[in-house]
Amino acid sequence: MLPDERTFRKHLAAGPFQAGVDRGDWRLISIEWPHAVIAVTAPARANAPREVALRFELSGYPQQLPTAEPWDARANAPLPEALWPIGDRVSQVFNPGWNRSALYIPCDRNALAGHEAWLTQHPAYAWNASRDITHYLRIVRDVLREPGYAGVRQQAA
């Protein structure tokens, strides 16, 4: 097992991730290194699932930033656009028109490229090697908890 996977599994077993599991904030679905699928719980909305699965790409973790795409865990495939979360700021973070393979948040590897100003504008969101995967998961959880979250695209249309 390479150091990045070893560190990731150590973080999964540690307090911050496990406390989130116990709170019902997120759960691990699978690991096929360098990928891991983790579901983040979403508030109840009409005709929308109660969790959003993310497939992380974690090469070089934690020195390298994670990146994640919305995932259909049952089909083990990218989440169809019609099922992407939507609403207010949620639509900025989950924006298939920008990139279907990443989330638009400051700690996502693909989102940060070209948005380096985020590092100084929003240092609390920035990734560094002392972070663990819960940093990314908390940001997604908190965005989904915002009142503007409206469920998924096909129901909201």
Binding site: A13, P123, P147
Partner: protein, 155 residues
Amino acid sequence: MEIFVHTRGKDVELQQPEPTATVKEFAESAGHPDAHVFLEGEDEPARPDVSLADAGIGDRANVHIGPCMKVTVSVRYNQQTKTYEVPPAAALQSIYVRASSQGEGFGLSDADRAQYTLQVQGANEQPDLSRHVGVFANDDCAAAFDLVLQDRFQG
């Protein structure tokens, strides 16, 4: 057995004490031999001479280990400050509820309550509200927060 341990200045840790350990032995094994052990939500510390089970500390319980019996929490908003005295194992969520309430807080509207949070005074840290207030206490068992809008990045 596994227990979530909250201590000053650190993120939550998952520790594996022996189920038969006493509260005092558990505190010692966690590196805090003279500290109090509080079960989350409890006003009084666990008795040191009883087992974890007898203290009501079950598998995957959240406890705070630290020197404070109470924490004096001040919350500042609109140039006013309100102060609450709480046990160190009180979750920040309970402080936020009180500080934003109509009764003993600043009376935020429902809409504002969804957009505000606690920020550590003198820092840009907006901690997860599941963390214990004792994590942020200083040597005088005091913790200070501002009631602020949540930091929201934009594209």
